[in-house]
């Protein structure tokens, strides 16, 4: 426990003048690599720049695809693009926009802005952010490149089987989607872990949850939603790829599979996905409106509750994408009601922003214009959303251009417009020059007019019977005029984006130390004097709008009067604070630049992409090298405990913490939530397929004898026991070292043995995974177990090495704690799997 408390935290903990060399030491610790070596940087500012740039690049690329689509659809029976090319282009447009632009760009804005906004020096796991970024960038570029080799997927961005099975999509396109996007999703999850711990554990002292910037609230909920939503699509991706590669029939009806299983898994992810995209954008609006209206945000707590409600509700809506699949009426009514209910939290946010504008005096500026544009377009989109939430209306509008209009209104209105507002708003915090107000206004009007001209007519053409995903249409349908208008609008919108790019080239001058600064007089901490290390010293926060309510804060921080004005241990540091009250608890040492994250990312991308083109040996080689790079990276982590460090006013905090207070422990727990969500999706899939195809489920006598799963379970439990015993021999010493190695080895043998026994049991009973859907599900449990067991084998070897090198003992035990967490989870998952696979069929 720490020895600080709210009462004792002083506003000005440090006296002036600051000691000689303190500032220089801080700057030296945070110095950036020069020249091309900037690629090895890991701090959030540089990675943030790369990340935002990459996301905008994908926006432009996918936008060009859209312009090609609009050219093809501008006139009836057009021959500009063939059907196959068009089908690849619309698939890529959707996939790149949703996976390579929409989620990454809001995550990127989080990486760039969050630490500064919270008064932290960096994100809690800088190398993880670097890895996540490079994995996304390299993987994304390769994926986009498939278009140039006629290898792009053409199954639509939601890739429904059986169309995307091997029989009807025999090429590599679908595999590129499955393996490429699957691996990019891992990048999103890494980002989510980073943001949850960043928001909850690295806020400036005194910045309680109730005083946190609204953008931080949205990033927290965004990250939480990713943790629970993405695993469903990751599982679906694994199932379809196993079906394509090995013939495990999850979605093939003739073998007991079901096409609708994919839809349930995909949309369980897909619906929260759009709120994942919208919430951070709403958070950015909640930061921009108060500054532009020059008054604090009205309805702060209402908005926070609304955001949490949106997060929860959004998980209960997914079937509204399946209203036309013949689902029973009771189910339809429930999901219709839930879909309409989710409009309520959005209503609260919209009127809170209006209230804030009413409470203040809105200044006309480019960010304000984009916010007003957002309010109009998003509200319209939300209203058409209410329309399609009405089941009978959806029976007509589903899969038509009406729905295309709806989702572009909510996505472009709800995320792109706030994003452009954010670019114009935050550029002065990161650039030596602000963007041009004159060009900004032109950009806005072109984008606003262009967007409405492009997409409003689609409501009409949809109701006139035009389905979506059609590469052409006959002239007799009289959709030609509306389509031509849409095409003109699309090019108007593109012209606006072009002007924006001109503005960026002319005016944006990214810097890490001399931005033009707080030209809007914003109230939050990112507007203080900021460098690549955030503020010179971290202030005690006493209100929601610190720069308005605590005068002189920025200058005092710069002079070093606040907490942590230098570097105590000589390396990069930030403060670890308590989740609710933000009381300093520890000093977190952070890594500097290095090559292992980018190497590991490129090699991991290589593994997945080589596997897609079936170059198995090069893929395995790339994978082994990736794991090696990660192990080197991990070896450099977990610095040894040092003496307690003073952060100011005589307050000393530990430099090393382990157990539930450690940020690393928190990260592992979040990872376990992800793994748990993945396994629950699997359990759902198992039970769902049983309801659809009970005829392929075994009778109890067809299962392996019960002694097999009992032995498996015993082995699993034993391995947990051995791991637990290790905690007894953590103190250093030769005999303890030997015991440590033996116990770890025994635990490994038991763990692997438990899995091997389970697979053997089914194989001996004659079950083969490609036989039918039940068999595939049985082996899937072992496949999911195998993933974790392989990771644990590597981790166990690493832990033994740390121990023998004297880097793991009773105090310095984070590495063991993490191993132990993942181990016990894997055992629990394995036991649940045994119960399901061997117990459920015996219930009959």
């Amino acid at each position: 426990m720490t020895d600080t408390s709210q009462r004792r935290l002083a506003s000005h903990p440090n006296k002036l003048p600051r000691p000689k060399g303190e500032l220089e030491a801080l700057e030296a610790a945070w110095e950036l690599p020069k020249g091309w070596r900037i690629l090895s940087a890991v701090n959030n500012t540089v990675i943030g720049y790369f990340y935002v740039g990459a996301a905008v690049l994908f926006f432009l690329l996918a936008g060009i695809l859209a312009l090609l689509m609009r050219l093809q659809l501008a006139v009836p029976s057009n021959t500009f693009l063939s059907a196959e090319t068009y089908n690849q282009i619309f698939t890529m447009h959707g996939t790149v926009m949703m996976f390579l632009f929409a989620v990454p760009v809001v995550e990127a804005m989080g990486v760039l802005l969050l630490p500064q906004m919270l008064g932290a020096r960096d994100l809690p796991f800088p190398r993880l952010s670097a890895f996540a970024f490079w994995a996304y960038f390299v993987g994304g570029l390769i994926f986009f490149g498939t278009l140039f080799f006629d290898l792009a997927p053409s199954g639509g961005w939601f890739m429904y089987p059986p169309l995307t099975g091997t029989q009807y999509s025999p090429g590599l396109g679908a595999d590129f989607w499955l393996l490429g996007i699957g691996f990019i999703e891992i990048s999103a999850i890494a980002g989510a872990i980073e943001l949850i711990i960043g928001v909850l554990r690295t806020r400036a002292p005194g910045m309680t949850l109730d005083r946190m910037p609204m953008f931080a609230w949205t990033l927290l909920i965004f990250a939480g939603m990713i943790v629970f939503a993405f695993p469903a699509v990751i599982l679906a991706t694994m199932l379809l790829e196993l079906e394509r590669a090995l013939g495990w029939p999850f979605f093939i009806p003739q073998k007991g599979g079901d096409a609708l299983l994919w839809q349930h898994l995909f949309w369980f992810f897909g619906h929260p996905e759009v709120y994942i995209i919208f919430l951070p954008a709403a958070g950015m609006v909640s930061m921009i409106v108060p500054t532009m209206a020059r008054t604090p945000l009205v309805g702060y707590r209402l908005i926070a509750v609304a955001l949490i409600a949106t997060g929860f509700f959004s998980f209960g809506l997914w079937v509204h994408h399946m209203f036309t699949t013949g689902i029973p009426a009771l189910s339809l009514s429930f999901f219709s009601a839930a879909s309409m209910a989710v409009a309520l939290p959005s209503g609260i946010q919209v009127f809170s922003w209006i209230a804030t504008i009413a409470a203040g005096r809105l200044r006309w500026s480019t960010p304000s214009l984009f916010v007003l544009g957002f309010l109009f377009i998003f509200t319209l989109g939300g209203l058409t959303g209410v329309m399609v939430a009405m089941v009978p209306f959806d029976w007509q509008a589903h899969d038509t251009y009406f729905v295309v209009a709806h989702f572009h209104y909510v996505l472009v209105g709800g995320m792109v417009f706030p994003l452009f507002a954010a670019f114009y708003y935050w550029a002065p915090a990161f650039s030596r020059r602000a963007l041009s107000e004159r060009l900004g206004k032109i950009t806005f009007w072109l984008m606003f007019a262009g967007f409405n001209v492009a997409f409003f007519p689609m409501h009409i053409s949809g109701l006139m019977g035009m389905p979506r995903r059609v590469y052409t249409y006959p002239a007799v349908m009289e959709w030609g005029v509306l389509n031509m208008i849409s095409t003109i609008g699309a090019f108007l919108f593109a012209a606006g984006v072009l002007i924006f790019l001109v503005d960026v080239v002319r005016n944006l001058r990214p810097t890490v130390s001399q931005p033009i600064g707080n030209i809007w007089n914003g109230p939050s901490l990112e507007w203080m004097h900021n460098h690549v290390y955030g503020p010179r010293s971290v202030p005690l926060v006493e209100s929601r709008d610190p720069l308005w309510d605590q005068p002189g804060l920025s200058e005092e921080s710069k002079a070093g009067r606040h907490y942590l004005p230098g570097t105590v241990t000589g390396v990069r540091e930030t403060m670890l604070t308590s989740p609710i009250e933000a009381i300093p608890e520890a000093l977190l040492r952070l890594p500097g630049a290095g090559w292992t994250p980018i190497l590991a990312a490129v090699l991991t991308a290589g593994f997945f992409m080589l596997l897609t083109v079936k170059a198995t040996v090069p893929a395995l080689l790339s994978g082994v090298l990736a794991v090696t790079a990660i192990l080197i990276w991990m070896w450099e982590s977990d610095p040894r405990p040092l003496a307690r460090a003073e952060i100011g006013h005589g307050i000393k905090v530990p430099t090393y913490v382990s157990g539930p207070i450690s940020h690393s422990w928190w990260a592992m727990v979040v990872l376990l939530l992800v793994a748990g969500a993945l396994y629950l999706s699997y359990a759902f899939s198992y039970l769902y397929l049983w309801t659809v195809s009970p005829q392929v489920w075994p009778r109890p006598e067809q299962l392996p004898p019960i002694v097999w799963p009992l032995m498996s379970a015993a082995l699993l439990a034993a391995s947990s026991g051995f791991i637990f015993l290790i905690s007894r021999v953590l103190p250093g010493g030769f005999r303890n070292n030997a015991a440590f190695v033996v116990l770890t080895a025994l635990a490994l043998i038991a763990l692997v043995g438990g899995l091997g026994m389970e697979i053997l049991a089914h194989w001996r009973a004659g079950l083969r995974p490609d036989a039918d859907a039940h068999a595939a599900m049985v082996y899937m449990a072992s496949f999911l177990q195998l993933d974790l067991v392989l990771a644990l084998v590597v981790m166990a070897a690493f832990v033994i090495a740390r121990r023998l090198a004297g880097l793991l003992n009773r105090r310095r035990r984070v590495v063991y704690d993490n191993l132990s967490l993942l181990w016990h989870y894997t055992v629990a998952q394995g036991l649940l799997g045994l119960l399901l696979v061997h117990g459920f069929p015996r219930l009959q």
Binding site: G156, L163, Y168, I354, A355, A359, F376, W395, G465
Partner: protein
């Protein structure tokens, strides 16, 4: 002069209604009861949407430009709760109730008088069978009686398709391994166009069909003709066409009842001559278009499963087209 010209023009236009132009494919031009109810709901929803959008725009306008008293009122949390929570909660609950009420299928319990038609979605055509003592096989064009509920029993042979005739009602997906159902009733005679509404790869955009609604007596007559085997060819050209049809192996894929051709891989052609279109509603059924589809089908509908038959000479193509046109 003018009045003398309009009469022939009008007559031509009326005559054209039966044979020219596409069927109606619009949600807002209902020809059936289900579509009618949904169109009414649609208008209600548009009205609701317009009102709410107006409220938001006005509130925003007043927040920026309104009098200080008004702006103080708008700046209160009670306003946020009233307009952002209470008002939507009330209106959406009412809408939801209406929507749920509308969802109840009308006359579902009454199975008497319901006609059943089985439709199987294939890449990229429609396999149709009129249920009865002996099912009548057909393809790509569906004829139904006016005023009688028709239950479509839907399946898919390969990938997911969706059966949608907007002027008659909503759509229902056709999912391999499952059977779904859609009940539609045409209130007016006419031609209603439908289109596959679930992306099914390739030329999904060209997978359309027409539903012809006939008054009851005309329908009965039509059904009797459809049940009958194919008309025998009456001219030399037609007979030549029949010989070519058999010799070239067309019967392996296409069935013509009453002849040796009994393939079920492709659309049934027993009465193709009576349909309005060829190539799954890609082109109007004319002699020239039949020739075109046989010889260059891949250019008309790229990716469709019928290969191009360039082995025929022009006179042979003429004979084939004449034969097929005779199959009324």
């Amino acid at each position: 002069m003018k009045s003398q010209a309009t009469l022939p023009v009008a007559a031509t236009a009326l005559a054209c209604l039966a044979g020219c132009g596409p069927g109606v494919q619009s949600v807002m031009a209902p020809g059936g009861s289900q579509a009618g109810q949904i169109a009414t709901l649609a208008w209600l929803l548009f009205g609701f949407g317009a009102v709410v959008l107006a409220i938001v725009i006005v509130a925003l306008w007043l927040a920026i430009r309104g009098s200080p008293r008004l702006r103080t009122a708008l700046a209160r949390e009670t306003m946020i709760i009233a307009l952002g929570l209470v008002f939507p909660a009330v209106t959406l609950t009412l809408l939801l109730g209406y929507g749920v009420w509308l969802m109840q299928p009308d006359g579902d319990h009454d199975d008497r008088g319901v006609m059943r038609i089985e439709v199987v979605g294939e890449q990229w055509w429609w396999r149709v069978a009129y249920a009865g003592a002996t099912p009548i096989a057909s393809a790509n064009e569906i004829t139904i009686p006016v005023g009688r509920p028709v239950e479509f029993v839907l399946n898919a042979a390969d990938v997911i398709h969706s059966f949608w005739v907007p002027s008659l009602g909503g759509k229902v997906d056709m999912i391999p391994g499952r059977t779904t159902r859609l009940r539609l009733t045409a209130d007016r005679a006419g031609i209603y166009r439908g289109q596959c509404a679930e992306y099914c790869g390739g030329p999904h955009a060209l997978m359309a069909f027409e539903v012809v609604a006939l008054p009851p007596t005309e329908f009965d007559a039509w059904l009797a003709r459809e049940a009958a085997p194919a008309t025998a060819p009456s001219t030399d050209g037609e007979r030549h066409g029949q010989t070519l049809f058999v010799a070239a192996g067309c019967g392996t894929c296409h069935a013509i009842r009453g002849t040796a051709a009994s393939g079920t891989i492709g659309p049934d052609l027993t009465h193709i001559g009576s349909r309005r279109s060829v190539g799954v509603d890609t082109m109007k059924l004319t002699h020239a278009n039949l020739v075109r589809f046989i010889a260059e089908g891949q250019h008309v509908k790229p990716g469709n499963r019928m290969p191009e038959f360039r082995i025929f000479r022009p006179d042979e193509l003429d004979a084939l087209a004449a034969y097929l046109s005779s199959l009324r």
